[in-house]
């Protein structure tokens, strides 16, 4: 899932302070799971903003809504009727949702309400961690199901660097060494032979380095 974190409220105040009627739009998808942009967060943000603008004696109407998914046109359409009631929208969806909203409602200023961080998992309530960098050419089959690209700080492909110490990465004692994990898992699976051969330089064309990416699948297209 895509993990995000709420933007500091000061930043949002600054984004919208010159408008009079603003809609806060949440997303029921990923950002709800990571408790950054769902209905609950919309309510809290809207309420805090109302408190602020009321206290400042500034005329400001803040409304709340949440869409099933902002990365989907059908759901974005739901705003069609009311979008013109607002001067601006603060979208609490991930960066993709914010942009899709902006694409659909070209004349409305759309502001991001969260900082989109990574593709990851909920390790425990309140703790989210990165697991994938969407490199577009998954190599998990040979790395014991643990991704060296997202979990090694230097995205090494041939094993741990010289800074790995007691299972932790050289950058911080709070960060697991991805390669230590890979090694342990390969050992458990009896797959250490995967480690023997050098891995060739990776083709990053399928990653961000190839420019904005697109998947087109004729088998699913209408």
């Amino acid at each position: 899932m895509i993990m995000a974190r709420p933007k500091p409220i000061e930043e949002i105040i600054d984004e919208i302070k010159d408008f009079n009627k603003v809609l806060i739009a949440g997303c029921d998808g990923c950002v709800t799971v990571c408790e950054a942009g769902g209905v609950k967060e919309v309510q809290v943000l809207a309420s805090a903003l109302r408190l602020y603008f009321t206290k400042e004696n500034k005329r400001m109407e803040i409304d709340e809504t949440s869409l099933t998914r902002q990365c989907d046109k059908d759901y974005l359409h739901e705003l069609l009727d009311k979008i013109d009631d607002y001067d601006a929208i603060v979208s609490l969806a991930c960066g993709a949702g914010v942009q899709f909203m902006a694409e659909m409602y070209r004349k409305k200023p759309i502001f991001p309400g969260v900082d989109t961080c990574f593709i990851g998992v909920t390790e425990e309530r309140g703790v989210w961690a990165e697991r994938c960098q969407a490199c577009g050419q998954c190599i998990l089959a040979s790395t014991g199901g643990i991704c060296p690209i997202s979990r090694c700080s230097k995205r090494m492909l041939n094993g741990p660097c010289g800074g790995s110490e007691k299972g932790k990465c050289e950058i911080s004692p709070d960060t697991d060494c991805g390669w230590h994990l890979i090694y342990e898992r390969l050992k458990e699976l009896g797959q250490l032979d995967f480690f023997a051969e050098p891995t060739d330089p990776k083709d990053w064309v399928s990653s961000r380095d190839g420019g904005p990416r697109k998947i087109v699948r004729e088998d699913v297209r209408l």
């Binding site: 105040i13 309510q43 809290v44 309420s47 805090a48 109302r50 408190l51 602020y52 009321t54 004696n57």
Partner: protein, 125 residues
Amino acid sequence: MRLRYPTNIKIIKVPCSGRVAIIHMLKALEEGADGVIVAGCLEGDCHYQSGNLRAKKRVIYVQEVLEKIGMEAERVAMYNLSAGDGPRFAEIAREMTEKVKELGPSPIKNAKKLASKKSKVEVAA
């Protein structure tokens, strides 16, 4: 036993302080409350294990939000007391009322009054 506590306090009963969400505290302030007390059981005594600890974290969160938007964080407070401790509750209520008095009325209440006056004038004009 009848205890005296300030009459300007409105009590909202919930089964556990863990039930109090961030939005409830914010809403109370939005409605013009001068302060909000979340009264939970003593730490370690929660019937639902950690309801009061979670409430405490939420209170801290609201306090941080208030600070960021330029309001006094002390308008929201968490207290822990045992369920039957009426005298302690009365004491807390008095304490909070004193604190809020020191801070003065909520800026929201004032702004709202001002806004409604303004709109009245507008209507009259």
